[in-house]
């Protein structure tokens, strides 16, 4: 608002009438925005956008299949023109959009208010300015990466315009074309923006907007073979549905599930209590709030917080509920909390019925209470107590969500320690809800598998120039419940009479060599087809054992100094050097590679280990510059336990490269060697055993690829799966890993030959370490 005022009263008056005028110019029936113009077929169904009093604002089209494919082909031609431009011309175009947005900011914000999805034009201006900078710098600061192509941005109906543009603008800045599928309320402002952008010089087809039922439209558009990436922002439920609907299309999908996450608001005894309470009042009872706060207060200042809440809440008015049925849920939640001994802080008693409820603090609920576990809608704030600093962090972490946390203390050490220990994507110290595009925001745990904002957030819209995209396909009919359950052709190895008895290998779980839990084995064939060896036929229980071992040691491994991790990897490289001959022979007999070439692969593997050892203490985050005064940190952290289903190609080198990348960044890794060529990995166990890596940081399990993939997918502790395998496997993972959510890095071996492991491009290595970390931003405002 203030930004618009600064342009003088004249501008203000001119455009304050403009949203209605704009809507009238479209006869209050907005079309789809495809190829730089509004498209409207008479036979399409429409849906009505209403204002807060239920009055009609305008209607939007419900797009059908034909529109979906039109929008993508428009995007494909837009992409050709847009990606061919040099960086500075793209940046220049985006900067022109800034001035256009500044001129029409008031109009836009009024349109947003009309359509009940409030948004601040100044925040959008900042977003545009930030990303026009990245458009300018792409080739100089992110060389060897290319745009993905046509990117589909889907948001749920309750998602804000800002969250939508936080995906659209970086996609455009990196040279992609976008098909945006806005929610109901964001549709009119996005259509206006698209028109303004094209008027300001964005080539036609670069930004297309299709409206309609978000979920079905999302998969309709994604189906088109010209789409290379789908990214979603909004609530969890719709995100999962989209993920399942697009599984098997061969298009990567990532989710930012920021809406509706439970976020801890932690007040330590060393806090400025008044300011902390002020923050609660400001954010906790809003009608449209992105997250559900949970107030955690240290026992020693409990009374003082409660007394201040009472003073500040006195005189607050009831908050309108979003949906009609919400009142019942609110009443039930309050009643249940009271039955469990909670007391209420309310400015006034709730009216006996009606769609509004007074702001309410539920004092003294337990973490097990339903109002904490599954928060109800409405202005309810659970208030929990904790005793020590450590317990405060534990309380905040004990949730499936990992979106953000607000913590209040004047103690610097405590603030940084707590920020480090909270498993959330954003930590706001002595502040809350601070959003800036330079601060990356990435949900941890079930709050998403996607990073938005910052330099880190650009990579979702890029791929290494030398690596091919996932090949497109159509979903096969996969019986997800049966995938990987077929028993493999396991046999019990018998003592053969021949002098060259095939050797029986053991797998490696928790730092120990062992048989599979089932006790059975499978044959490993030599290139000629003779039985070369037997390896364990691992399954669900072996994966479980490996995960149990991994979670015991991974936190310690992650906390080790990067220098210590580097030393472990260097020592691994040295041991491999000592076993060089054995490894080469094993590669040779397994794959039929000449001894010379096999030795070369071992050599490259040693180089990879040294490379990642060296990177341990080099790959750090950054200190983003933010417009407000304060200090921001962007920190890469280990994901936790990563499951890797290894490729057939370069069996030793690929395994060592992926292992080194994951372990260097502090992860524990469970590796499934290629069923075709498992021996080099099994031979490598000797190397692992004589290294000083804590047992459990690396486990190696052999067996059927589908079986093991299924076991990984169904273990909630595993945070990410890196997969090389069948198209069907990719489809299974996309479908299954929507809930509980995992990060997926999928590769189809059938269609592309896979990457050339022997030629490690810088961008491929960068991609690998970006896959191996998750990001946390910490914001510490100062005066």
């Amino acid at each position: 608002m203030t930004a618009a005022w600064s342009h003088g009263v004249y501008t203000y008056v001119l455009f304050s009438i403009f949203p209605q005028a704009w809507l009238e110019s479209h006869s209050r029936a907005l079309g789809l925005f495809i190829d730089g113009k509004f498209v409207r077929s008479a036979d399409r169904q429409t849906c009505n956008v209403t204002d807060s009093s239920g009055g009609p604002v305008c209607s939007t089209v419900c797009a059908v299949d034909e529109d979906a494919s039109l929008s993508v082909s428009s995007g494909a031609s837009g992409f050709k023109a847009w990606s061919a431009l040099p960086c500075h011309l793209r940046a220049k175009t985006l900067l022109r959009l800034v001035s256009s947005l500044q001129r029409h900011g008031q109009c836009l914000s009024e349109l947003c208010d009309l359509a009940q999805s409030p948004s601040s034009p100044s925040a959008l201006v900042r977003l545009l300015q930030y990303y026009s900078g990245w458009a300018q710098l792409r080739d100089s600061l992110i060389p060897d990466w290319t745009p993905r192509g046509v990117v589909v941005v889907v948001v749920s109906d309750d998602c804000s315009l800002y969250s939508l543009m936080l995906k659209v603008l970086p996609a455009l800045a990196m040279g992609n074309a976008v098909v945006a599928i806005p929610g109901m309320g964001t549709a009119p402002p996005v259509l206006l923006l698209a028109q303004l952008f094209v008027e300001a010089g964005l080539p036609a087809g670069v930004l297309n907007v299709v409206t309609g039922s978000v979920l079905s439209l999302g998969s309709k558009v994604a189906q088109n073979p010209h789409v290379s990436y789908v990214t979603y922002s909004g609530n969890k439920k719709d995100g999962e549905i989209l993920c399942r609907a697009t599984a098997g299309m061969g298009v990567p999908v990532s989710l930012s599930l920021s809406l509706g996450a439970t976020c801890p608001f932690i007040i330590f005894e060393s806090a400025d209590i008044d300011s902390a309470v002020d923050g609660v009042i400001e954010t906790a009872f809003k009608k449209n709030r992105e997250c559900q706060w949970m107030l955690c207060v240290q026992e020693s200042v409990w009374d003082s917080v409660v007394a201040r809440l009472k003073v500040r809440m006195a005189g607050m008015k009831s908050v309108p509920l979003l949906a009609e049925g919400d009142r019942k849920l609110v009443d039930a939640a309050v009643q249940e909390a009271q039955q469990q001994g909670a007391t209420l802080i309310q400015p006034c008693p709730p009216s006996s019925s009606g769609a509004a409820y007074p702001p309410t603090v539920l004092c003294g609920v337990a973490p097990s209470c339903t109002c904490v576990v599954t928060p109800s809608p409405g202005p309810l704030l659970p208030l929990l107590s904790f005793r020590s600093h450590g317990e405060g962090v534990t309380l905040g972490n004990h949730s499936p969500h990992g979106q953000a946390a607000s913590l209040w203390t004047e103690d610097l050490t405590l603030a940084l320690e707590a920020a480090k220990s909270l498993s959330v994507g954003a930590v706001w110290v002595n502040s809350h809800s601070v959003m800036d595009p330079s601060l990356p925001i990435s949900g941890h745990k079930e709050s998403g598998n996607c990073i938005d904002g910052g330099k880190e957030g650009l990579f979702q819209f890029l791929r290494p120039s030398s690596s091919p995209p996932l090949p497109r396909s159509s979903p096969a009919s996969v019986d997800y419940s049966k995938f990987g359950t077929a028993a493999s052709a396991a046999i019990i190895p018998e003592g053969s009479n021949s002098s060259s008895t095939p050797r029986s290998y053991l797998q490696y779980v928790g730092g120990k060599q062992c048989k599979s839990e089932s006790g059975s084995s499978v044959c490993v064939l030599a290139p000629g087809g003779t039985v070369l060896a037997y390896c364990p036929d691992g399954g669900r229980k072996d994966v479980r054992n490996a995960v149990e071992a991994a979670i015991k040691v991974q936190p310690g491994w992650m906390k080790k100094s990067p220098v210590a991790r580097a030393q472990s990897l260097f020592s691994l490289a040295e041991t491999l050097e000592l076993k060089r001959r054995d490894m080469a022979v094993s590669l040779h007999s397994q794959t039929g590679l000449s001894l010379e070439k096999a030795d070369m692969e071992v050599e490259l593997s040693i180089a990879q280990l040294c490379d990642w050892a060296a990177r341990c203490d080099k790959e750090r985050g950054g200190v983003p510059s933010v417009p407000q005064s304060g200090s921001a940190l962007s920190i890469p952290e280990a994901l936790g336990v990563v499951g890797v289903v290894l490729p057939d190609s370069s069996p030793l080198l690929s395994m060592v490269s992926l292992l080194a990348a994951a372990v260097a960044m502090g992860n524990a890794v469970i590796m499934m060697p290629s069923p075709k060529y498992p021996l080099p990995a099994l031979e490598f166990i000797q190397v692992l055993q004589s290294s000083d890596l804590p047992g459990g940081v690396v486990s190696i399990i052999t067996g059927g690829r589908d079986q093991l993939t299924q076991a990984l997918a169904n273990h909630s502790v595993i945070k990410a799966i890196w997969y090389w395998g069948s198209m069907e496997g990719c489809q299974f993972l996309q479908h299954t890993c929507a809930s509980p959510l995992k990060s997926l890095w999928l590769h189809c071996q059938e269609k592309d030959g896979g990457r050339d492991w022997a030629q490690p491009h810088a961008s491929l290595q960068e991609e690998m370490w970006r896959q191996a970390v998750q990001w946390k931003s910490v914001w510490i405002p100062t005066a």
Binding site: D274, A276, R312, A783
Partner: protein
């Protein structure tokens, strides 16, 4: 009211934490918050008038201009616009107390006279003369005394109690700012929650516009609640400049026209 508030054990004062940026942000927020328009704005302005300590603290004060000030205090808004509202008090130097009391008595007004005392504005005089100054002002008829505390004691942690706290003398380079006020009113709240005693608050110095007076009222309402919106617990230390601006706003509310300063009676 003689001394109502006796200091108690004040060690907790040293444990209070203030996060500067959060307070600055809050100050910004309060300034952007005034949404009252039309009759509600007029009502808030009247409330502001009733809380004003109409002040003259100049070296060249004479019985003449003190008399004018007192008359303005008894009829702060033009007679045809508003009747029967007065400011909270008039505030003068100790040597002018007798003049003010005389003027108000002559006008049949019971408006209290407040006086700054104790070596105003630096307070760097000896305890003996400070006490004597207070005694003399009270003898001359002052009902309220604004004492300049010995800041040496405050800075070394030797706090004392009071019935009202004031942002500053109004003679400093920086006077009543919102962030400082937020910290002070929160101290009042703290003290109230700990002792049950309600301490009043008086911002003073540089408050010249009607809009500022509304921000001050918003600040009091939001931080301390409605009880701190009455002259018993809230005073605005201001000269007739503030009053003139408020008067013009009220004129606009009543007539729909904007007034020139000369249309308002002079103080």
């Amino acid at each position: 009211d003689s001394v109502r508030n006796r200091p108690t054990y004040l060690e907790w004062v040293s444990k209070v934490r203030v996060n500067t940026q959060a307070v600055l942000k809050r100050a910004q927020q309060i300034q952007g918050r005034n949404k009252n328009k039309k009759q509600w704005q007029a009502a808030w302005l009247l409330r502001a008038v009733t809380c004003i300590d109409l002040t003259t603290l100049a070296g060249d004060d004479t019985p003449g201009n003190v008399h004018r000030l007192c008359m303005k205090a008894t009829q702060p808004v033009r007679y045809d616009l508003l009747k029967s509202v007065t400011t909270a008090a008039v505030c003068v130097y100790p040597s002018r107390v007798a003049d003010a009391v005389k003027s108000l008595k002559a006008a049949n007004s019971s408006l209290p006279v407040a006086s700054v005392a104790t070596g105003f504005p630096a307070g760097q005089t000896s305890l003996k003369t400070r006490l004597e100054e207070v005694r003399m002002a009270v003898e001359d008829g002052a009902m309220e005394i604004d004492i300049v505390i010995n800041r040496t004691l405050a800075l070394t942690g030797q706090w004392e109690g009071s019935d009202f706290i004031k942002t500053s003398t109004g003679k400093e380079s920086v006077n009543a700012t919102y962030p400082v006020a937020i910290v002070m009113v929160r101290a009042i709240r703290d003290y109230f929650l700990k002792t049950g005693h309600k301490v009043g608050f008086k911002p003073a110095g540089g408050i010249r516009t009607a809009k500022e007076s509304l921000v001050w009222l918003t600040l009091m309402k939001e931080e301390l609640g409605d009880e701190w919106l009455s002259p018993r617990l809230f005073r605005l230390g201001a000269s007739s400049l503030l009053l003139a601006d408020i008067e013009r706003q009220i004129y606009h509310h009543v007539t729909g026209r904007y007034a020139a300063y000369h249309q308002m009676p002079m103080a």
